[in-house]
Structure formats: C-alpha cells, structure tokens
Homo-oligomer: 681 residues x 3
C-alpha cells in the first residue's frame, strides 16, 4: 500500500531561489548545476508575494523566465506551492488566517508557517493560488511535479485560532455523534468536566497549572493531523485536477501529523529533508550515541511511509538561523557520507539544500553548496565527486527495496498520547533509540513498521522479529493480530507499560499488561517508577547484571513462561524482570523495564538474531544496509567515524563505486562508503 | 482556642467516587470497605455536574442511591461541597467566575480550581448548590459532616479577575479608610507611586521587569487569605443553617491562607491531606534530609491549627498526574508507617485516598488502595493490617494531646512578606527545617506555634523553649509578649534579620534587630549577604567551627550579654556572631546568621535541652512522639529507615500494638512502629 | 567633539530624597552632608506626584522648602526631571502612555519606567512638567543643572505600544522613502515577507517560534535609540529655553541607545551610575576575571562619550531590591577604591547613591551612606576619609584628560546586530573583555573608541594601536578610514567574522573578510563553528599552543602576509589561523578566532606594545591609569585585591594623597590607592 517514488535512475538536484539573486546570475547558475550533474531544480516554495503581489492580481512573468531558462539548460523543475509563507497583504487584511498561541497571542507576519489550516479564508486564498499555478504550469515542458507547502507542522504543531476551535468542535461532533460519547471517551466525569452542550467544546485552553484532560489532548493531536491532511488535500485535489500529468509530494516529517495517511491518501510519494548535522548541536544521549547515524533511523521511518522516496533537502553545508541552530560545518566527506546514507535507505532522488547561501533573511547561515562569494569551495568539489560516482550506479540501484528481517514497531496513538503521559511516553523514544543502536551495531538492517488499524497480518509476517517497546494503547484487534503473527512463528518483544490502555488512553480494568496478558504470559504483580534520588535497581540476565532504571514491573509469570531475568535488589529482589513465552510456533519476550543497548543485545542473543551478512566482519562504526532489486543485493557499508576501520571480507565482492573487487581484510577510510553487489542465492 | 476533632475512637475511612464506576460495583466496594474496618466514606467533592447538570436543575438521585447504599453497609458519609470544580455550562455562561493570570489570561474549564473567590455570580451559584445539598442531606442518617470545597488555594494561590481587583479595592478602602493611610502603609512616595483616587488601586499588575511594591504584595496575600475565608464562610454559614447537626471542616494546607483563622472562625476542626511520598520527587535538601519524616513537621503545623485533627487524604499508593508528579511506589511498610505518623501527631480520623485508582482523567496514576483491576494487592493487605492493629488502641489514644516542651514559632506575616523579600524570606524555611531536624534527631518532640495578634502569654508559657528563626516583621506587642515570656523563665532563640520591620514590612529607623534589641542585648554593627562566588565565612562556637553561609551579622553586644560564637575569617574576624543574654529568669540567644543542623545542636546543648524520654536510647532514624490523655502517655517510636535500628529501653514498657512488654536492647525492623504506654508520674 | 564636564574642582555630592523623610530631619541631613565635604545634592528625580499631585495642578512648596534649605547650607542643587515615574493618575487616565510587551501585555503602575517614548500624550505631559519646573527654578540661586529623566532604557529597552508601532512606521518611511527600499534593506524577498503598503509595517511582533527578520531587528534598535533621544531632546530643548543658565545631563548607560549622539546633540556632558559591586553577583567569566575592575572598562566607555564626566550614582553600600539583586556589602576600603576608580578614568564630580537607605519601597536594601537608624557607621567614616583626601587634589586633577595609546574599537551597529546574530554577536563582548584584561594586566591604559560615521582619521591617529575584535558590519567608508590609518603607521587587530556585512546586516557577495580583505591580506578559505560536544581546536602561536574555541576561520593568506599562527588539529591542521600584514607604514593582524587573554598577550608582544610607564613595576592586581593636564601626568595606582601588593619604583615619585615621596620597593595595602605626579618630559 505504500506509495513510492518511481524513477528511471537515481537523480540529483538542488533547491534554488531565483528571487534571491540578480537575474543575470541565473544562466550561469543553471549551467553550473548541469556541470555538477544535477537533473532537478526545486523552485518557488516561498514565492507567494511574487505570484500574487496584490490580492487577486497574479503574475507569472518572473517564474516563467526562471523556469524557461531552467528548461533551456535541461533541468526538470519541481514547483513548491507557496502557502507556507502568506504575503504581508494577506495576513494584514485577513488576520483570522493567523495561528494563535494557546494563551491567545496571535502569531504575526515576519517568520513562516504563521497561518492555520482551518481558516475558511486561508483555504480559499490557498486554493486560488494553487489553482492559478497549476493552470499556468500544467503543460510547461520543464515542470514534472509539485511539493505542497513546505514542511507541514514544522516550527509549530499546535493551533488555537478561532477557526481551529470551531473546526475541532465539528470534528468532535463528527467523530462521536453525541455528547454522551464524548464525555465517555474523555472521562469527563472526573473533576466535573462533563459537557452538556456542543458550544462548551474547545481545543485545550489555558488552565490554572497547565495540566489538561489527557484524553482530550490525544484527540487534539488527531485533529491537528486531520486538519493538516485536509489542508494538503485541498491543494492536492486542485493540482490533480489542473495538472494531471504531474506528480505530487510534500517534504519533511514533523509531529502531530500522520504522514502515512497523508501519503496514502494524497501523494505519489513522500519526500524528506535530511540534516544529519543537527546531531552536532542536539546529539542523542546515552551510551555509544549514534549522532549523524541516527538519521538512518529517521530515514527508516521515512521508508515506512514511502518505500522509495526523495530527499528534497539534503544538507550541503553548515546550517543555522541568525539567532539559533548554530551548527559547525560538515567535515570533509560527511556531505558525501550523508548522501549515501539517504541512498542506502531508499532515496532515489536527492536535492541538495541549497544552491547558494542566502545573503538576507533568517537563513544567511543556512549555507548552501555555494558560498556568498560564488567561488569554488570544498563543498562544490565534494558534491561533484558524489555526482560522478552516482553516474555509475544510478540505474542499478534505482527502485531497489531496502531489505530487513526485523522491525521496530511504531504508531501514532502511543506517540501522541505519550507526549502527555509521562508514565510511558518518554520511554518510547529511549527504547526505540537503544534498539536501533543494537540493530546498527550488530549489523542487522531494520525497518520501522507503522502499526495502525490498516495494518494486516501480511505486513507483520515480512519480519522475523518485531520490537514494540511500550505500546500502552493497545486495541483488541492489534493484540489479536500480534497473536496470529506469533502463532505463525513470529517473535515479538515488549517492554514495560504495554497493553494497558484503550484507544482513548484510558486504562483497562485489567491487570497489566492488559490485553497483551495472554500473549506474553505474565501479569504485573507490582510496579514502581524509579525516583530521581534513589539507587538504581538492577536485574540479572543470563550471567550479567544490568541497571533497570526509570520503571520496574515485578512480573508474575504463568506456568508456561520462562524467566529470563530477575531483579537483584529492592524489595522485589529475586522477582522476575523478564520472561519468554512460546506461543504457537513463535516467541514473545516481555521485559518489565525500559530498554538499554545492553539489554537489547541480550535479547537479540536470546532470540538468536545475529548479523545479516555472515561473510563480512565489520566494526561497530560501520553501518550495513541492503537494497535489493531483481534478485541482486546492493550492500552499503558506511563508515560514520572520521578514522579508518578494519573490515574483513570472507569472500570476494564487487564494489560498485570503485569498480574493484574486494576480498580479505581492508582499511576503510574515515567517512568512506562502499557498495557491494551480489546476486541473491 | 484551637478547634479540635472530637471523636469517640480513632477511625478509618476512604475517599470514594461512585460516579467513576459502574453502579453494580458499589455494593461490593462498600462491603470490602467494611471488611477493611473502615467507618467513613467521603463522597461528592467534585460532583457538581451530577447534582446540577443544567443551571438550576438539581438532581439527587445518583448520590441518594450511593449514600443509601453506604448507609445500608454501616458507613458514615462525609460530603464534599463540589465547588472546586464548576461545571462546563457554568464557566461557559459566566466567564466572569474564572480566575485570570496576572498577565490577563483567563483560566478555562479542563482542570480544577479555575474559579475566583470574589465573583458575585460564583458566590451566588455556590451558595445555591450548597444550600440545596445541605437541605437535601441534613437529616440523612448516614451523613455526619461536610468538607467545604477541596484544598483551597491548591494549584493556584493568586487571583486577578476583575472581581478580585474590585474586591481588593474595597478591602483596601475598608482596611485603611483613607488614601493617605494607604500611601503611608505602602510607602508610595517611593517612585512616585502615590494614589490619589480609589479607582487607581489594583492588585499588583504586570510591570516592566516584574518587581512590584513590596508592601502592596504583603497586603495582596492578606487579601487572598481573607477572600478564601470569606468564600468558605459563605458555605459554612449555609451548612450550619440547613444542616445544623453536622460538623464542618475543609482539607489541605496551602499558601496565602490563614488556616488558623479559617478554622477558628468557621470550622469544627481542620483536616489535612498527607502525601509523604512527595519526598521522593521533591526531597528536602541539606545535610541529613528528613524526606518523608518532614511530614511530621507538616503535621505539627496542622496540629497548631487543630490539636486533634483528621487526615482526609492519607497516601495509599504511588501518586502522580498523567503529565507530572511522577512518584515511585511507597515501599512495603511505608503506608503503615505514614498512617502511624499521622496518628502520632494528633490525627484521630484517617481517610485513605482513594478506594480505587481512576481509569480516566488527570489522576489515572494517583493510585488508590485498589488497582484498576480490583484484585488483591499488597496495599490492601497492608491497610488491612493497620486497621486490625488500630482496633487495639483506638479508644485509648483518641483525644490524647501531643506533648512538646519546645516550639518553633511561625507566623503568616513573615511567611507572606518573606515570599517577596529575598533578604530574609528564604532563610525562614531553611532554619525551620534545620531546627526541626535537630529536635527530631535529639528526640525532643516539638510543636509549631503560630504567633499572631491573638496569641497571649499563656500560649507561650506552655513551652520551655521557643525558636523564632527570622521574624523580620515584629510588632511592639509581640516583642513585649516575648519579653514577658523570657522574664518568667522562658528561653527564646532568634536568627539574623529579626525584629527590623513593622507590620507593613517597612524597616524601622532603628539599629537591627529593631524592636528586639533590648530583649536580645545586641545591636548589629555591620552585616553582609554572603555572595554566590565567595568563600563561605565560618564561626567558632564552643570548640567547633561552623560555616555561616547566606547572611552574616556582626554583633555589637551589650555588657550583660555573653558571646557564644565569633567569626573566624572575613573582615569581621573575631567579632561576635552569637550572644546569650539573661533577661529576668529566662534566656535569649541571638545568632547573626541562618541556622544549620549543627548550629541548632550547639544551641540545644547551650540551653541544656536534651531528649525528652530519658530511659529510651534511640538512633537518629527513629522518631519519638508523645500523646497524652488522662495522665497516660503514649510514646510513638517510628522507624523511617528501611533497615533495622537498635534501641535500648532502660526500663520495662508495655507495647500496645503487639501487646508485649519490652525491655533492654531490641532490634526495630525497617519501617517498624511501636507504641509504648506509661502513666505519667 | 565630545562634550565634557567643565568644573573648577573635583567635587562630591549625594543623591537625596527629602520626600522620603520627615521634614525635621532635613536640616541635620544637610549639615552632615557639608561636614562630609559634599557640594552637591541631587533632588527630585522621581517626584512627579509631588510637583503635580493632580493633572494640571502644580505645587512647588515642598521642593522650594527642600531647595531653599539646601541653599542655606551652601549646597548646590541638581534637579532630576521626574518623568521616569509617571503618577498613578496619569497612567490611569491615559493608558496609551504605557509601554507594552511584544506579546501585548501592558505594563502598569507599580514599578518605574513603564511609559513609552512615543506617546503624544506622554510627550505633552512631560513637556508641561519640565516647563513648569524649569520656569520655576531657572533662577533659583542653588540650582545649577538638570538630569533628564533617570537611566533611560534601564529596566526595559524594547517598546511595543501602539504609539511605538506607529512611530516606527513613520521612522521607516522617513528613512527609506519607498517600500522598495525597505524591502531591499530588510531582504523581504526571503520567505515572502515583501511589504506592499505602509500600513503593513510594524515593529517586530510575536512569531511562531520567536525568530524575526534580522535586518528589521537592527532597524528596531536604531528606532528605539532615536525615540529615546527624541524624547530627551523634547526635555532638553525646554530646559535650555526656560533655564538657559543651567547645564543639562542625564545618567546611566544602557542598551539600545546611542549615548554618543544623545550627548553630542543634547547634553553638556554625560553622567554615569557606577555600581562595581554588581560584580559580586554577576561576575565576569573566564580566566582571571576582572570583577569590580571591569567597571574600568565601563568607565572607559563613558569616557568615549564625555571625556570628563560625572558619576551621578557612586555605590556607597550593598545594593539590592527587595526581590532581586542581592549584593553582599562592599568590603572596607572598596567604596574608596571605587571612588578613585571613577576619578582615575575621568570623573570630575561624584555623587554618592544615596544619603540614607530608604525605609519603604523596592529599594529598602539599596543601602546608602547612612543606615535606617542614622547612626555612625563604617561607610560614613570611609567617605569622610575620601572627601578629606580629595581636598588635596581636587584642583590639580580637575579637567585632566585620561591618556591612552591604545583603544578598543566599539560601535552601535555591530552591538545591535550582534544582539540577534549569534554567529558573531556574542564574540564581541568576550573579545572586548579579554582584550581589556590584557591591557589592564600589562598596565597599558586603554580607551574605548566609538567608531561611527562621524569618526574621522584624526580620531584614529590618536592611537598607536586599535583593536577592533569582530566588526561584521563594515562600510566602505570605515574600511577606507582604517586603511588610511594603517598606511600612516597605525596598527589594527581584527578577529574572525570581520568585514562581511553591509550596513543592513546583509552579507556581501564577497569572500570573508569582505571589504577588509585587501587591508588584512587574507581571504577565509573555510570556516566552522566549534560545536558544544566536540574537542576544542588549538593553534600554535609563537612557540605556544592555545585553544581556539567557538569559531575557526581557515585563512588563505596573500603573498605579502606573514603567518603568525597555524591550527594544530582538526581537518585544517597546519592551515593559517592568524596573519600579519604590512600596509604602508602600519601593520594589521587578522586572527580567525575569538580572542582570549593569552592570545591578546601574544599579539601585544608581536606588536611590541608594552607597559606605558617603564619605571614602575606592578603586579597584575594593580591598575595603572593616567590623567594629564598642562603637561603634568597623574598616575593612579589602584589595588583591587584585598591583599597587599609589592610594587617597585625605579625613580622617585610624589604621591598626592599622602604627600610623601616614594621610591624603591614598597607594599601597597589591600584596596589601597596611590596618585603619583610627574611633569611630562
């Protein structure tokens, strides 16, 4: 069901803002793009003021010239709809289109994304500009596709304008039908919150100490996601109507948005903006951090949306706004490494951000390929090298699918509910991260699997192993599906806090782990958070002892389960901390804590899941990723370290970039990339 | 003058929310409560929507059924007035009842306590619901008493609605009579703040950098307290009128509220909600922290309001909201320990919070006795044990008074002024805490003594020793009373910053310590705060050297005072840091710094105050508390440690719980409790 | 062009608030002031309510009495216009005069400085009170001068009332003439921010994540400065008209205000409020911090505004508000030290703040010379000593000019742009601080030089050495002037991030360092910020190795430049980090990093700049400052340490305070001051 980019070859391109530059630079810019081997140029995403300088007064001259010239130089054009940045005249005349803070402060002109999705006026004006653009460019020979808006829900992902409150009221009415059902779903009996009239329904508003009804907060996220999708659909429908031969996508992957549904319902494929250099200012924490390699997890999530995808913004310099996000420069070799990281995970089109660093506005330090001065630099040289290399592999790899035998399971309900619920939400991110490290360092390619009400058994049986760390919200349907998966031989791993909440985020009147109890063969006898000021509990697992911080469940196992680990201290010393259960042909493991890298490693051992490619020995610093097409596997080796790594091949391999044969022990230089080819046996 | 709970026996009960559960669970719930030995059930505190689902449309069916069934099972019912949680229809129709932030943001439906005390409409609607409930239940055989609202001033203790600004204006007019007096009391000559018309008077409003007139801020707190009391009085008066045979109380002990006056004027006794497990997430700081034992200080403060009192919410599981307050579970034995802590300090009725953990709303992690699943658990077992034990002692102890020879003196003026004044306010809490530790670890039971304008000499002469750490605000009347107390043989200890401010918080034009100068026999020659970035000064006291951080007063002693300590460094090396003065038959000690545990210990030695029960040797981990009735003392020993403690009895004692005789050296297990009985000689 | 205080002798005085005290204290207060040798008393700065208790109803009786009595006691009076503190009646009746937060919250009565500069009504009412006061006091024999308002832009330096938005619109219109020019200057093509109508122009308003257009933010600061100056001019013009024989100044030195232009256009001289004790709560960071000695840098900045100046508030006790700024007390000797610090740097009049500590209001802990109790104390004694000493030197030193051969160059454009721009702004303050330390510890008196469009070549050629750390904004005119200066033999030092932005804060389309490239003989080949989580790079300079944190520029030097330092690690190992270039008779040094004390020291060595007075050997703790008049130099030695310092004179000197001759090695006590006299050879 996933929508995928369908390309004939792996292609490169760049984001370009002709409106930032004197027109006499354009031709030279386009020529140099072609010299770098670029096929695509993305234009116009923030250019509403140029297309519609006054209300209802449309002008295409400027971009006609820019696009015609691109066409002359053989570049294919992707157009952004410019709705992320409404013009000053628009927000000044129609302030109701603006987003508003929960406290009631209207966000004004001067940044971007200051509009709300539900304003009738904004939808009307958005529809008109998109219609005009699609009508105008639908048969331009250069134009091939569209990016809707830019980075939906970036910068801000909550909305409290009057239009949003009103739409939420309708949404709730539509979802529940009666106030009785609303009251039940939101548990409004608690604290006398019962609603007796629809006009009492609002999005969460300011409260005395900031806390809100948690079930309403969950619906708020669902509503925001639906609002964004509805707004994108308005645009997509018009583009399909007026430019039926062009493809449609959007870029970014932000919160409070079901990107899977967005893509399934509206887009031809999904596009992502990849900036691994954020890891230098917001590195992941904990043992052996992944840093830029964490973007492989992000790309896995993108791949769960769109098996083959595009990168619409691939980092090509140091990033930063004038007043924040102060990134160091990518090191020599990292732009290349990150490009291959995208390719290894399924990207078939890559646009670099941006052609030349802007000389005005908030992004004068979001450096592009070219510097302000437009002279040669090391980034241009590095991208030239990448481009030439990709020429050698672009037809082989295009369309090849990423190959994984394991998946980390994610879902929107628990992500959104867990944003409020501090009793399990924060564990999800940590456990996903630690599990992803375990798969990475053991060289086991892994997918992200989005588990929603459309998921069916065959989506699960693609994998030998599913890790579903803390699915507090668990419906009977999903629990059943997991049971069938295990019975057929699948392996599932759960952490603490699984299975105890219904779809509204309300605990079942059942012992933990609620509806998963039968599947995992335990009930939780006792539990405790681990406080900030106390000794960290430990558990003994196999012959090793691990800290089990944050949350401890004391397990009460059924007869047919095997105890894998026991607590070593606290008042529940010697009680089970993890158990294994055989169900049909499969296995479940339930662990009453939050996962760490060490514990994930022990579980992989316990389940006999080991490295996917037996004949290559790698150090932890090197990622192994596999894409496959027509029975041929392309094995990507990516060295994220700046130092060289020793790797050993136990058989001979063809390396695609260098067109050499590799065997035995070799040194892989810092930031180096190898692509090995083999026909699957 | 203190109002006290008057009970025939020490009784247990529980908070129950029938509206949260299917009606078919009620009977079983009530039965199980009786099995646990509970006599009381508290109902209805947040149920306005159920009693008045539409404006003016009252319905008692639901709670009639719940109360009748409770009655059938022999439970006595305490009713909460439901005004802490106005219904959605109410705040939607009458937004003027809502509380507002100082910045002008209205707090909306979705939490609790979002109303203000001064709205005419809210007072009218509150009066009506309370009247209806009191009329309806005044002669119900199960109903015995009322809880007004819930936890007044919890969550938020400032109020800036229009109604509050207007009421404050009247309050100021009423208090001062003329603007001249207001201007003088608030020192408005400073910075041209003079008021020339009543309509210029407001509660403190937003200012350019947040600072406000400090004297107005003190009156703001007094006004808030008066507003809360006035609002509670509205309800109390109606209950007394319509249900004259029921007692009235309220629960909690929060800031900006003179709970002493509230109780004296309106209530039959005071009730407290005791959650010692907060110490696991907000532990007290400093050397040898008290942790859950700090609740003994809180209970001492409660006792100063109401000599015998009730606990309306005794912690019975891990506490927490969905989005905050993430407590670990109480350890096995701690629920029992904390129950006895309440009893030892004067509680004669204890209601556990709550019967069963809620499955919806903000408090799904504020766990009750029963889990969601309603099956047996260790908390039920522990409470069952407590209940059975209390059966043995319930008639002996009931009504017995806590016995202390020393008191730490507190007052509202300094607490409220000190909230603004960073030049002494923060020292109060620290010194109280350190002194309480000293009393605890030396096994000297201590009271909190609230010193206000109603306090008279006989209130003071109950004690051998008064510790009044930093009473910056000190009136002549109070200074005089303290002088009389000392002259009659009393001992008083003061810390730095004492005595220099009048009742408006304005410094006297006198040398420090202002109006206490004569009593303590010193003036302050020089002083300095201790800065964050400098070496901490020291003082030599007896033969030991102590750090004197935060504030140093250089004392200039009169001839008839004895120097106890001298500074060891800084430019005031060798100058006096503490002095002792004989006044009449008594003694004063003035220390020019903020107290630490070590310094408090030295002062206890100096004043020859040692452990109260000579014949028992205890380790520091064990609290000793005494209640006395009819010439019999009940000595509570409470072990707050999870490890066993060696204690030695030099004579034989009857232990009440085990009905055994104890003598010699024994081991007291972790979290263990003993109650010894002796007839006073 | 600098306006200077012109006095006949160095005089002392004090800030006095008669309105805070019973009138019967005044006479004694004035007498005691005279006994302390004070000539001046500053009155009335916050007394609007007294002069105009009701709108349009003026009353001078109170201050007539206070001023007449001062006159009787031979004191000269400085009057403050009371506009920093509008009366309650004013802001209550005309709320449009209030300042407003960017979020729209109006700041209310209760603090000070809650008005805005652009309200027509406030300007009208300010004009009237100033006119009335000037008319009334213009020929009073005691009154000599005026202080306009108090500490302009203190407490708050941004303004968002409607009047400010409207004035900004006019200001922009006036500055740019056309919207095209606005759009170009603000780079509004970026993110579709183009303005198409003047009514779309506002001061920066709330945006979704707080970021704003950086070029508009720069103009915002310029506008605020112009607004403050325009408001002060309104008052200055009226005082000049109605009290033409009085001088005019204002006090303080706060942000978003071009104090140089303010002084040049409106004032007779500039006055500063000096509180070195802030260093005890906000000490400067880094190696060998300056602490209170940092005020020598502040005084240097004051001197760049007004060669000889007044101190209108010289700290005379511990400072602090009730709720913040909790300063320790000055140590004995520090008030004297700080007084001489002011004198050494060019102060010819010093008023202590304040006569007696207030007993009400926010500043009851902003202690004055006298305590609340009005009895003798050590501060009075210390000031008495200073006063007597100054009698000996007051005619010699008055009017003498500070003498420096080097200057640290500052300017408002980079300060204001750098407030937003985190890619160079924070480096300015650090590098200024480190360079000032280097000059201080090497005993090289240094000036601050404000470099603006009025600066000309002769302003530069006063100095052998200019250090201009990070002038990102650099115009052609300024670059040219610097070139001429160097060609004539001057030496200039630049740090990273120099020369690359135009006057709107937009990067030039040139290699770094932009318009300075030719002058310094390098281009920047590559650059990177140094991230928070990485190893700190190092550079080798002479034979030493230094950390180069925060920002690294990899330099590409021209043939005629000499490489001074090379990076020792990172991917740019061995690349140049600093170069020296000979230009005409002069020298430039360009360093691709942020300065540290060590690096500044190395550069001073490289440029052969050593201590100014060869014949005195000092430890680092002692500051050396020089004032000169009529060919005589007065060399101030100030010991900021509390311990004694060994100093060696290689020739004999006259010391002015002690009237002794000094030679050879002596011990200078903690906080001691010496003033040496020599006729310049």
């Amino acid at each position: 069901m996933t929508k995928s980019l369908k390309a004939n070859q792996l292609e490169l391109g760049v984001c370009y803002y002709p409106e930032h530059w004197p027109e006499d630079l354009w031709e030279n810019d386009y020529e140099r793009m072609r010299e770098l081997g670029f096929s695509y140029v993305r234009l116009a995403e923030f250019a509403w003021s140029i297309f519609e300088p006054e209300e209802g007064n449309f002008s295409f001259n400027f971009f006609d010239r820019a696009i015609d010239l691109a066409h002359k130089h053989g570049l294919k054009v992707i157009l952004g709809t410019p709705t992320a940045t409404p013009p000053a005249w628009l927000t000044h005349k129609y302030p109701e289109v603006l987003n508003v803070s929960q406290q009631g402060v209207q966000f004004q002109h001067g940044m971007r994304r200051h509009y709300n999705y539900n304003s009738k006026k904004y939808r009307e004006l958005s529809a008109r500009i998109v219609t005009k653009m699609a009508e105008h460019y639908h048969n331009h020979p250069a134009v091939v596709g569209w990016q809707i808006d830019n980075e939906l829900n970036c910068e801000i992902d909550v909305f409290y304008s009057d239009a949003d409150h009103e739409s939420f009221r309708s949404w709730v009415k539509n979802k529940y039908g009666t106030l009785d059902k609303v009251n039940k779903a939101w548990g409004t009996t608690f604290w006398s919150q019962t609603y007796t009239s629809w006009d009492q329904i609002f999005l969460p508003r300011p409260t005395v100490n900031g806390s809100k009804n948690p079930h309403q907060l969950l619906d708020e996220k669902r509503f925001i996601s639906d609002s964004a999708i509805s707004y994108a659909k308005l645009q997509a429908d018009l583009i399909r109507k007026f430019a039926p031969n062009h493809w449609i996508t959007t870029n970014g992957m932000f919160n409070h948005l079901d990107n899977h549904r967005l893509t399934d319902e509206l887009l031809d494929f999904f596009a992502y903006d990849s900036y691994p250099n954020f890891s230098k200012i917001f590195p992941d924490q904990g043992e052996k951090p992944l840093l830029d390699r964490k973007w492989s997890w992000n790309l896995s999530a993108v791949r769960s949306i769109s098996n083959n995808f595009a990168i619409f913004e691939q980092q090509s310099g140091p990033g930063g706004w004038v007043d924040r996000i102060e990134q160091p420069s990518p090191l020599p070799g990292q732009i290349r490494l990150w490009t291959y990281q995208s390719v290894a995970h399924g990207a078939d089109m890559i646009l670099y951000f941006r052609w030349r660093t802007a000389t005005f506005g908030s992004e004068i330090y979001w450096h592009g390929i070219n510097d302000y001065h437009n002279q040669p630099n090391r980034r241009i040289a590095e991208i030239k090298e990448i481009s030439q290399e990709l020429m050698r592999i672009k037809e082989k790899i295009v369309g090849a699918k990423f190959k994984a035998e394991a998946a980390i399971v994610t879902d929107y309900d628990n992500q959104w509910d867990g944003e409020t619920d501090k009793w399990y939400g924060p564990y999800i991110k940590q456990s996903e991260q630690e599990w992803f490290k375990a798969f990475q360092y053991n060289h086991i390619p892994v997918d992200a699997l989005n588990f929603d009400e459309n998921t069916n058994l065959s989506d699960l049986t693609n994998y030998k192993l599913l890790v579903y760390p803390h699915p507090a919200i668990m419906t009977d349907r999903k629990a059943n599906l997991l049971k069938q998966y295990v019975e057929k031989g699948g392996k599932v791993v759960f952490g603490c806090r699984s299975g105890y909440k219904d779809v509204n985020g309300q605990p079942y009147m059942l012992p933990f782990p609620g509806v998963l109890r039968e599947l995992v063969g335990v009930t939780v006898e006792d539990f405790t958070r681990v406080g900030e000021y106390q000794e960290i509990p430990e558990a003994e697992w196999a012959t090793e002892i691990f800290q089990v911080n944050q949350f401890n469940e004391v397990l009460n196992n059924d007869n047919n389960t095997e105890i894998l680990a026991r607590y070593k201290n606290a008042y529940y010393e010697n009680k089970p901390a993890a158990v294994k259960s055989q169900v049909g042909k499969g296995t479940t493991i339930y662990f009453g804590g939050v996962f760490t890298l060490d514990i994930a490693n022990v579980i992989l051992d316990e389940l006999e899941i080991s490295k996917t490619v037996e004949s290559i020995e790698l150090s932890e610093a090197v990622e192994l990723a596999i894409r496959e097409k027509d029975g041929v596997e392309y094995i990507f080796l990516l060295n994220y370290s700046d130092s060289s790594q020793t790797i050993t091949f136990k058989e001979e391999w063809n390396e695609l970039i260098t067109k050499t044969k590799l065997n035995g022990t070799i040194e892989m230089k810092g930031f180096e990339v190898l692509i090995l080819e083999r026909r699957r046996k």
